[in-house]
Symmetry: C2
Subunit: 418 residues, 2 copies
C-alpha cells in the first residue's frame, strides 16, 4: 500500500475548540497509520506559500500531548487573513501551491476555518479537478459565530455560548446589588448572525431571569420600541439586563455604530464593529437618566478555554477525526458537517457536504425563532442551543493558572523547510 | 447566659468572595449558639435605616446551603453606596440607627466592605463608646483592589487576581496567531493601587511570556518611555502584550483619561475611570501604525466566580468566622486582618486591628516591588501574589451554567420588618 503525506492548516479567527479539531485530525492520522508525515502549515495557506510548516506526527508522537492540545485555546498552527485569489486572477499562486504539495508528496489537505477558509477549500479542490490532481481537500468548520451553512452548528460555538451564558449570569448577579434603577447592556460578538447573542438566554434559570431583553441583527432595531421595551421591564424590576449583538442594524440596514470612530474593516473588507453598546448606553441614559453601564464582552468570548463546553470540545475533536475518514474514503471538495439526529437525547453525526454550496454564505437565525416582539428568543431556539453548552472541561492548572500547550513555534521565524 | 442578636451587612462593590465571608459569619454564629437571631440588613446600612432586613439563621438553617452561598458571586445581602455622615453633621441618623439596633436587641454588628465601609464601622463604634452602648462593631474587609491598610491582603483580591492572570494568559494565546506586529493593551481595574494589574504577571510560565510590560498607578506614566519600551520588545517579538491599570497618571498626577467623556464619579466623589486603554491604543497606533487592540476587562474581574481562587474563598470564609470570635471575645471598633506568618508553606492567621487606623487610607504597591524601568514587577511582588490565586473551586453546574444561590429577596421591596 502506498504511503501518503498530508497537510493540516488553521485559518480565520481563534476559538476555544479549533485545536480540538486539530487534535482530532492528528489523532486519526496516527491511528490509521495511513500517513508517513502529517505536516502542519504555520499561519495557514499564507505560511504554506512561504514553506513554513512543522511535522506534527513527530511532535505529537514525542513529548507533546494531544489531550493538552485539545484543551488549549486559540490556534496552535497560527492563522492568516489571506483571501486566496481565483485562478484567473493569479495562476502563479496556484502553480506554486501545487508544486509545494507535490514536492512533499501530499495526498490529503485539511483546512480548519470559517467561511473564508471554506472558500479556499472550494477553490483549491475545484482547481485540483481541472489539473487532474489526486489531492483531496477537506474543510473542517469552526467559528464562534455559528453562521456556516450546511451544518447543524459549528465547532467553537458551544464554548463561546457557554462563556456568554455564564458571563451573563455573573453580570446579572453583579448588577443586582444596588437598590436603584439601572440598565446593564452587554454587547456580544456577531456581525450578521445573532446566535452568540441568543445564547445569553441560556443564563436563565429558576434563580436568574436575565437577560430581560435580547436584540439580534436578524431583525431591524427600532429605537422607540427599544426604549418602550425597557420601560415595560422597569414596571416589575429595578435592574434591566440587555443582551445586544454588536451587529444590530436599523430598518435601513445601517449598523448603529456605522459612522462611529470604532468602525474598522478586516482583510476581507468586513466591517469590524465595536461601540454598539456605547451608542445604546447613551440612548438609554438620555431617556431614563438612570444608572447605565455597557459592557463589551471581549476576545475571551472566543478563547476562554477555562469555561469551555465539553460537548463542543468532544464534537470538535470528532469532526477532525471524521475529516480523515472522509478523505481516506475518497472525498474531496467537501466540508464536514454536524447532523443532529436527535435532540433528546442529544446526538450528532458527522457528514461531508459539497463545500461549494457552503462557502461564502451565512446561516442566520430563522425569524421564527425570534419572539414576536423581536426582543427575545423562542423556546425552540433555547432548546436548540441548550445541548451545545453542556459539560465542563477539566483543565490542568499549574501555579494557579491553566496549563496550556507551548506555542513558541509561532513566535519565531524558524521553519523546518528552510 | 443571656442570648443575643446580631446584624450582618455588606457594602461597597461586589467581589467573588464577599459571600464567602458572609457564610463564615453565619456559620460561626450558628455553631457557637450565641445568637437567637442572625439578621442580615438588605442593601447595607441604608437598608437598615429603612428597616429592611432578613433572618439569616432561619434561612440557612432551613433550605439554603451555606456552601452554595460561599460559592455565589456578588452580594447576597445587596449593597449601598452611602456615606454615613459624622454625628455632628447628622445626629438624627445615629439616633435612628441605634434605636433600631436596640429595639432588635442587637449586641454585635458585622460589616463586610471596603475602605468606605470601614469608615462606617469606625464612626459607629466611636459613637457607641460616647453613649456607653455595649454593641460591638466589627469590620470584615473585602475589595478586589487589595488596597486596605493593616492586612497582608484583602478577601476578594485573590479571585480577581486569578481571573486577571488567566484572562491575560488566554488573551496572550489569542494574540499570538497572526504573523504580524501587534500590540494588545489590557486595561485592568485599580484606581490608585496597581495590585490587580500587577497580578497579570502571574500569567507568566514556561509557556507564556505575557505580559511584556506592566504600567501601574504607583509610578508616573511617561509617554516617551512607554513607546520606547514597546520598541524594545518589538526587537525580539511580534506580539507585544501590555497590562495597564485604569488609574495610571502622568508626572503631574493627571489621569490619562481625566478629561475624556468616560470620566464619572461615584457617590463618594471618586473618579470612575474607563478609557485609559483607548487613550494608549491611539498613542501606540500613531507611533507604530501596527495592529493595536485595547481590551477593558469588565466587571467579570469582580464576579467571575467560575474561576475564583480556592485560597481566597477559604480565607474569606475564615475571616468571617474570626469576626464572630473577635466580638464574642469583646472586641469592637476593629477590622479583622490577615497576617501572613509564612510564605512557604503559605499560612495566614486572622487578627483584629483598630479600624480607626485603617479606614480612609490606601495601601499601594511599595515602589521597591516595581522594577527599575517602571514597566514590570519584581520577584518579591510575584512571590507575594502567587499563593493568593492557588486552588480551583468546584462550582455546581446545572444546564451548562453555574448554579448560584437564589437572590430574589434583592429584587423586591418586601422586608421582614414592615
Amino acid at each position: 500500500m502506498t504511503k501518503r503525506n498530508c497537510f493540516i492548516g488553521q485559518s480565520g479567527g481563534p476559538t476555544s475548540a479549533i485545536n480540538a479539531s486539530l487534535a482530532g485530525v492528528i489523532s486519526r492520522c496516527i491511528e490509521t497509520n495511513e500517513f508517513d508525515h502529517v505536516y502542519g502549515m504555520l499561519n495557514g495557506i499564507k505560511g504554506l506559500l512561504e514553506h513554513k510548516y512543522i511535522d506534527l506526527k513527530e511532535k505529537f508522537n514525542a513529548k507533546e500531548s494531544l489531550e493538552n492540545l485539545k484543551n488549549t485555546p486559540a490556534m496552535y498552527l497560527g492563522s492568516c487573513r489571506y483571501k486566496l485569489p481565483t485562478f484567473d486572477e493569479d495562476p502563479q499562486t496556484y502553480n506554486a501551491l501545487f508544486k509545494t504539495l507535490d514536492d512533499l508528496h501530499i495526498t490529503d489537505f485539511y483546512y480548519i476555518g470559517g467561511n473564508d477558509s471554506m472558500d479556499t477549500v472550494a477553490k483549491l479542490s475545484a482547481y485540483a479537478k481541472t489539473i487532474d490532481s489526486p489531492i483531496r481537500f477537506i474543510g473542517i468548520p469552526k467559528t464562534i459565530d455559528n453562521d456556516l451553512m450546511g451544518t447543524d452548528h459549528t465547532p467553537g460555538f458551544g464554548s463561546a455560548a457557554k462563556y456568554v451564558a455564564a458571563s451573563m449570569l455573573e453580570i446579572a448577579y453583579d448588577s443586582s446589588i444596588y437598590k436603584l434603577n439601572a440598565v446593564t447592556i452587554i454587547e456580544i460578538m456577531g456581525r450578521n448572525a445573532g446566535w452568540l447573542t441568543a445564547a445569553s438566554a441560556l443564563a436563565r434559570s429558576a434563580n436568574c431571569d436575565a437577560p430581560d431583553l435580547i436584540y439580534l441583527p436578524e431583525v431591524a432595531f427600532e429605537k422607540d420600541k427599544f426604549l418602550n421595551d425597557i420601560r415595560e421591564v422597569f414596571k416589575t424590576k429595578r435592574s434591566v439586563i440587555i443582551a445586544v449583538s454588536e451587529g444590530i442594524k436599523d430598518k435601513n440596514g445601517e449598523f448603529l455604530d456605522s459612522d462611529s470612530k470604532y468602525a474598522k474593516r478586516d482583510a476581507f473588507g468586513h466591517i469590524l464593529h465595536s461601540g454598539t453598546g456605547k451608542v445604546l448606553e447613551s440612548m438609554v441614559y438620555q431617556e431614563f437618566k438612570c444608572k447605565v453601564r455597557s459592557i463589551e464582552l471581549n476576545v475571551l468570548q472566543r478563547c476562554a478555554m477555562h469555561i469551555a463546553s465539553k460537548v463542543d470540545l468532544d464534537e470538535s475533536f470528532m469532526i477532525g477525526e471524521s475529516a480523515v475518514d472522509a478523505s481516506i474514503n475518497g472525498e474531496t471538495g467537501v466540508m464536514m458537517t454536524f447532523n443532529r439526529v436527535s435532540n433528546d437525547p442529544y446526538q450528532v453525526i458527522c457528514e461531508p457536504k459539497d463545500v461549494s454550496y457552503i462557502a461564502n454564505l451565512e446561516q442566520k437565525i430563522p425569524v421564527a425563532w425570534i419572539n414576536e416582539k423581536h426582543n427575545h428568543i423562542t423556546k425552540e431556539l433555547y432548546d436548540y442551543l441548550l445541548p451545545l453548552i453542556q459539560g465542563e472541561v477539566s483543565i490542568q492548572y499549574q501555579n494557579g493558572i491553566p496549563q496550556y500547550i507551548n506555542i513558541d513555534h509561532l513566535k519565531t521565524d524558524e521553519n523546518t523547510a528552510d
